[in-house]
Each structure stands twice: as structure tokens, then as C-alpha cells.
């Protein structure tokens, strides 16, 4: 993508999540006429304006739609950037943002909270802490091995399996009331987003994603062999650790409030590479933009496709996988 046309396409990429977000404010089960939508937004800033606007409109826009759209925007960006970064770091196109045990670590944390710890320890916080604990376990265990990249991936699989077993154990002993709450959490959804949840998780997602975007050129260096990267003056181990910590923080923050949303971190970076090539200076920021757009559209579909809420994790998998297979079939190439 070079020249004026290329720049326009890039501009469109970066504008589209915000345009989609604006359009999505008018989508939902509760019909709000477009004019009233504008009036409600104005009334939020200037409470004396448009007194005829029903209070329900404000609740729907500001307390239901806006938090979940902001969550979709940042979660989509965070998962995609994490996926792209880890794929480059491990030089492996099959790596996703959950490869280091985050998903099952978070699920186990949520299960502990819902089943045993009670209201004093909310599932969001427990999920976040155990997601990080899983990554920490991977780093500690794999750190003793010589071949770091392979051992990291293998240890990630092992730690995931361990937390999966712990999760199954908690599920087995859970009472059915807690079990239902747990299943609901595990399905993954943006619908439960509230400002109090987001006040902690959004800054973590935002900072983690922004830092990864700023480090995008280093990913190009790290995707070389470790010897080549070291010859270019990069402290490979330190840089790898930093990227793993940032991706883990972002993904754990998403998982804690929205559950496990699969495939975004795998598919979106590949789509971007199919369009712009493997240069991480382009792949990482464009993945953020496309990931945000994809998750906003997916969330719109979950809200309007049926009278009930469809878990977004199911939708991203159902739509993402066939689409990915179609694109792979056309390009006949996996970029990295």
C-alpha cells in the first residue's frame, strides 16, 4: 500500500472503528430515533437542553451501549495486537494471544471466585490475577530451559492443561448456582460491561496495546534469529519478556471483563498481513484498527441477530474461521 491511495486506505482503516462505534450507538433492541440520539448526547453535555428526551435513552446510550462499545473497541484492538506481537515474537503463525495459559488461568480464577471466594473477591479481579499467574508460571518454568522459544510454547500448553484440570475440579465440586454463573462467564460476552468494571480494565488494555504499537519496529528485529537480533544490539531476552508481559496484561484485562473471545488474535493479524505484508511496523497498528472494527461489528450482530444475547466468542469463531479458510484458499500463503 504505497502512494496516495494506500494512505487513504490506511486512513480508512484507522477511522473505521470510530465510525462503526458511532453508528453502533443507534443499534439495539431499544429503538431510539437518530434525532433523539443526538439530543441525548447533547443533553449529556448540557443537562438543561432537550428536557423532553426520556431518561431511558440516557441509560441505554451511556450506561449500556457506550461501555460495551468502548470495551469492544479496545478489546478487539488489544487481542489483535497481542496476537500479532506473539506471532512475530515466536515466529509461529499458529500462536494466539491465549497461548501462554491466559484463558484457562483466567477461567480458573473466575471459577474460584464464583464458587468459593464469594462477593469479597469479584471474578474480574480473580480472573486477571490468575491469568497473570499462569503467564508467570510459564515464564518461570520455561526460563530453566535452553531453547527459550520452543520451551515457552510447550510450557504454555502444559500450564494451560494444568489450569484446565483445576477448572474442571472446581466445576465438579461447585454447587449448581455458582456453576451457572461460571458457565455464563465462560461463554464470553461484552454485555456485562459496566463503567466500574471498565474503569480498571480499559486503562490496562489501552496502555498495553499502546506500548505494543510503540514497540512494533522491535518486533521486526525480534522476528529475526536470536543471534541476528543480538548482533543488532537488542537484548533479546529482556525485549521478549517485556512483550510477553504487555500482551499478557492486555489479554488478561480483556478476559477478566469479557471472558474468552477466541480467534480474533489469530485471524485479524493474518488478514492484515495478507493485505500489507509481514512488516510489523504496519501489521501491529493496522491489526489494532481492524481488530477493533471486527469486534464492534461482531458485537452489533450479537445484539440484533436474535431476541436473546448470543455469546460473542461463539460468533467470532463461527464467522472468523470460515472466512479465514476462504482467504487462505485464495492467497495460498501464510504470511509471517
Amino acid at each position: 500500500m504505497r502512494g496516495k491511495k494506500g494512505r487513504l486506505i490506511v486512513l480508512f482503516f484507522f477511522l473505521s472503528p470510530f465510525l462503526l462505534m458511532l453508528a453502533s450507538l443507534s443499534i439495539g433492541r431499544y429503538h431510539i430515533p437518530p434525532l433523539d440520539l443526538g439530543k441525548t448526547l447533547v443533553r449529556t453535555v448540557s443537562p438543561a437542553s432537550f428536557p423532553e428526551v426520556p431518561p431511558e435513552y440516557r441509560d441505554i446510550l451511556l450506561r449500556i451501549r457506550l461501555p460495551r462499545l468502548l470495551l469492544a473497541l479496545l478489546a478487539g484492538a488489544a487481542l489483535s495486537v497481542s496476537g500479532a506481537s506473539l506471532q512475530a515474537l515466536f515466529k509461529n503463525p499458529l500462536v494466539n494471544e491465549y497461548i501462554l495459559g491466559i484463558s484457562f488461568g483466567a477461567a480458573f480464577g473466575a471459577a474460584l471466585s464464583l464458587v468459593f471466594l464469594g462477593k469479597g473477591f469479584p471474578p474480574q479481579i480473580a480472573a486477571f490475577l490468575f491469568a497473570l499467574a499462569a503467564v508467570l508460571a510459564v515464564l518461570v518454568v520455561s526460563g530453566r530451559s535452553g531453547s527459550h522459544t520452543v520451551s515457552l510454547l510447550l510450557t504454555g500448553v502444559i500450564v494451560s492443561a494444568f489450569f484446565q484440570a483445576l477448572l474442571a475440579l472446581v466445576e465438579f465440586f461447585a454447587n449448581p448456582y455458582a456453576l451457572q454463573s461460571l458457565f455464563f462467564w465462560l461463554m464470553g460476552s461484552l454485555s456485562l460491561a459496566t463503567w466500574s468494571d471498565l474503569s480498571v480494565s480499559l486503562p490496562v488494555m489501552g496502555l498495553g496495546t499502546a506500548a505494543l504499537v510503540l514497540m512494533r519496529w522491535r518486533l521486526n528485529v525480534l522476528s529475526l534469529s536470536e543471534e541476528e537480533a543480538a548482533a543488532l544490539g537488542v537484548n533479546v531476552r529482556k525485549e521478549k519478556l517485556l512483550i510477553i508481559v504487555l500482551t499478557s496484561l492486555s489479554t488478561a484485562a480483556v478476559t477478566a471483563v469479557a471472558g474468552v473471545i477466541g480467534w480474533i488474535g489469530l485471524i485479524v493479524p493474518h488478514l492484515v498481513r495478507m493485505m500489507v505484508g509481514a512488516d510489523n511496523r504496519k501489521v501491529v497498528p493496522l491489526s489494532a484498527a481492524l481488530g477493533a472494527s471486527v469486534l464492534i461489528v461482531a458485537d452489533d450482530i450479537t445484539r440484533v441477530a436474535a431476541s436473546f444475547e448470543i455469546p460473542i466468542g461463539i460468533l467470532t469463531s463461527l464467522i472468523g474461521i470460515p472466512f479465514f479458510i476462504f482467504l487462505l484458499g485464495r492467497s495460498r500463503k501464510v504470511w509471517l
Binding site: G28, R29, Y30, P54, P55, E56, D59, I60, R63, I64, R65, L114, G118, F172, N175, P176, Y177, A178, L179, Q180, S181, F184, S191, L192, T194, R303, A306, S307, F308, E309
Partner: protein, 358 residues
């Protein structure tokens, strides 16, 4: 000749049949061999006498106890022993029974063989359990559930009574159930539709999980907001509403499942009243957010009557008059289980004495 269950309870039929499918009413036909067509449409040949009963379906377990045949139970499921807060009160003998299955399909087959049951009751929603038991153990396995229907609950009482040879007691309970239900319905029958409160139910540990049909609300003179929605899980009556949809419905009353102790409740009435997203709803504005009993693994026949009475009093106090709920509820439990003060004891666990005080 096909007869109704009521005829069977009067002492006629030996062969128990129903049309196939969980939504079809069970029926009994006259033949020489004893057989039943269960809620899954399976034809099950019954033993001459069912002296040893293994019930892995809590609703049936409760009915067996209410029929006075609790001493025939040789095993039950894990839920009713460990998480049902009512059953140990109305049937203390349950504590001595072994738990044969956990929450779904994990059955201890060797234990089942050791218990040597004449008949096994299971839930039609647990298909693998039905096939596994029938296929491996060659014992009669009957899959039944009321699926949240009063009529089917009555039929179930009569059918289990027929299977256990407790037809008279089953007929007595069925008649009592229908009479009490008719009395509650009668007390609110004059209420015009526009005066009936629109009710949203938050059940099963999640704010947005709700039943698409809930007959206690209808019978008590309310309108379930989610009525007519598609269930999100096939074979159940549960769906997942959107938070925005609750605002569209504008319920006058919100009911939260409270059939478990306060410390285990993930969703609370206080939490909903504080939730600013719902501040504009009539239910929240007017403080009409209450606990109700709800159900897990379908109903207890006595508790669902108590719940319907409680809801009628909650929705239309002017029509139901000064009902002493505790006294009435204790009388209902006495009738069904022969236990004094069961409701009072249950309320101590659930803290339900002050549910409707706001």
C-alpha cells in the same frame, strides 16, 4: 382404548403410555403388560412392583417422598442431597441415601447394580444418562420432567403414583394441587389485563438469564415479560435476555431467584436497585424488586404452590386479602410431606420472611 391419567389413578390401567416428545402429555392405555411412554417418547416396560426406586431426577424424588414412598428410595442424585435446601427438611431420611450421580452424566454404574433398583427415574434433559443406564444395566429407565408446566406436574404425580402403586395418594395430591391452584387463580381472575404487573425474572445466577415461560407468575396474575421468546438452550425454558431488552420491556416488578442462601447469591435485589442502568424502570423506581423461590431441576409440588400464593399476594394484595403466608405455606407442606413448620425452617435458611417487605 386410551384413557387419561386420571382414570389410571382411579385404579384401571396397567399399561402407561404417552405420545412421543417432551411437550406431549402423558397418557395411559389399557393392555396387559405394564409399560410407560416417557417424556422422551420412549416406551419403557415397567416391573410388576417398584419396591426399590433410584431417582436421579430431583422433581421425581420429591414426588416419591410426597407420595409417602420415600422409604423405597435406594439412591438419589448429588444435587438433592447437597444443594436442595428444602428436601432435607421435608424428608430427613434423605441424608442416609447414597448419591449416585453428580450434576449430569457421571453415574456410578457399579453402585447402581449394587443397589439393584426395580426402576430408575432420570431427567429427559440428560439424554446420555438415559441411554447409558438403559443400555448398560438393562433396567427400566423412565425420563420425566414437568418442564415448568402445572398440568404436566399433576400428570407426573399421577403417573409416579401409578408406577409405585400409590394411586389413591397421588389422586389426593393431584386434586389438592389443582384445588389450591384454582383458588389462587380465582382470587386474581377479575383483575383486568392492564392491571396485571409486567414481571421480569432474573433466574439461575445471572441477571439476564430468564425463563420464557413461568406459570406461577401467570397464575398469580402477572405477565412474564419474556413470554414467547425462544429458549437459548434447547430442551429448557431458559433464555438470555439483553440488558437493553429489559429496558424495552419496562417491567413493573423484577423477581430474583432466592432459593439458595444469601451468601451464595450472585444476583441480589439490592444490586439491581443500585444498578443505574435500570434506574428508569418502574420496578426499580418503585422499589418493586423482590426475591422469589424459582427452581432448580424443576419443581417441588408444595413449594411451587407456596410460590404462586406468595406471588399472588405480592402482585395483588387487595385481591388476595390478608393471607398469612407462613401459616398457609406450613399447612401446604404438612399436607404434602406430613412435616410441621417446614416453611418456617426453609425461611430460616433462605431468609425469606422479609422478602416482600419494601
Amino acid at each position: 382404548m386410551v384413557l387419561t391419567l386420571r382414570s389410571a389413578a382411579a385404579g384401571a390401567a396397567l399399561v402407561l403410555m404417552s405420545a412421543a416428545g417432551p411437550a406431549t402429555a402423558l397418557q395411559i392405555a389399557g393392555r396387559e403388560a405394564r409399560a410407560v411412554r416417557d417424556s422422551l417418547g420412549r416406551s419403557v416396560t415397567l416391573p410388576e412392583r417398584a419396591e426399590r426406586v433410584l431417582s436421579l431426577q430431583p422433581e421425581i424424588t420429591r414426588i416419591v417422598a410426597a407420595l409417602g414412598a420415600g422409604d423405597r428410595l435406594v439412591g438419589v442424585d448429588y444435587f438433592i442431597l447437597n444443594h436442595d435446601h428444602l428436601f432435607p427438611i421435608v424428608f430427613p431420611g434423605a441424608r442416609d441415601l447414597p448419591a449416585i450421580s453428580h450434576t449430569s452424566e457421571d453415574i456410578n454404574f457399579e453402585m447402581v447394580l449394587r443397589l439393584d433398583p426395580d426402576i430408575i427415574f432420570v431427567s429427559p434433559t440428560e439424554l446420555q444418562m438415559v441411554d447409558a443406564l438403559q443400555g448398560k444395566l438393562k433396567r427400566p429407565v423412565v425420563a420425566m420432567a414437568s418442564m415448568g408446566s402445572f398440568d404436566r406436574l399433576v400428570e407426573e404425580i399421577l403417573l409416579v403414583g401409578g408406577i409405585l402403586g400409590r394411586e389413591a395418594r397421588a389422586a389426593e395430591l393431584a386434586s389438592d394441587f389443582e384445588a389450591r391452584l384454582a383458588a389462587i387463580r380465582g382470587s386474581v381472575s377479575e383483575i383486568p389485563v392492564e392491571k396485571k404487573p409486567r414481571v421480569y425474572l432474573s433466574f439461575w445466577g445471572a441477571l439476564t438469564r430468564t425463563p420464557v415461560a413461568y406459570e406461577p407468575v401467570d397464575a398469580a396474575g402477572g405477565v412474564n415479560c419474556a413470554r414467547g421468546m425462544l429458549p437459548a438452550n434447547l430442551g429448557t425454558i431458559a433464555t438470555v435476555a439483553q440488558a437493553e431488552q429489559i429496558l424495552v420491556w419496562r417491567p413493573d416488578v423484577i423477581l430474583v431467584q432466592g432459593s439458595y442462601p444469601p451468601k451464595e447469591r450472585a444476583i441480589t435485589t439490592e444490586g439491581i436497585l443500585r444498578d443505574k442502568r435500570f434506574g428508569s424502570l418502574p420496578a426499580v423506581r418503585n422499589g418493586k424488586v423482590f426475591y422469589t423461590f424459582g427452581f432448580w431441576y424443576w419443581w417441588d409440588p408444595a413449594l411451587v404452590l407456596v410460590e404462586t400464593l406468595y406471588l399472588a399476594r405480592l402482585f395483588h394484595p387487595e385481591a388476595t386479602g390478608a393471607v398469612d403466608l407462613e401459616k398457609e405455606a406450613n399447612a401446604i407442606f404438612k399436607k404434602y410431606y406430613g412435616v410441621d413448620g417446614a416453611y418456617t425452617a426453609l425461611c430460616r435458611t433462605l431468609e425469606c420472611g422479609a422478602w416482600d417487605e419494601r
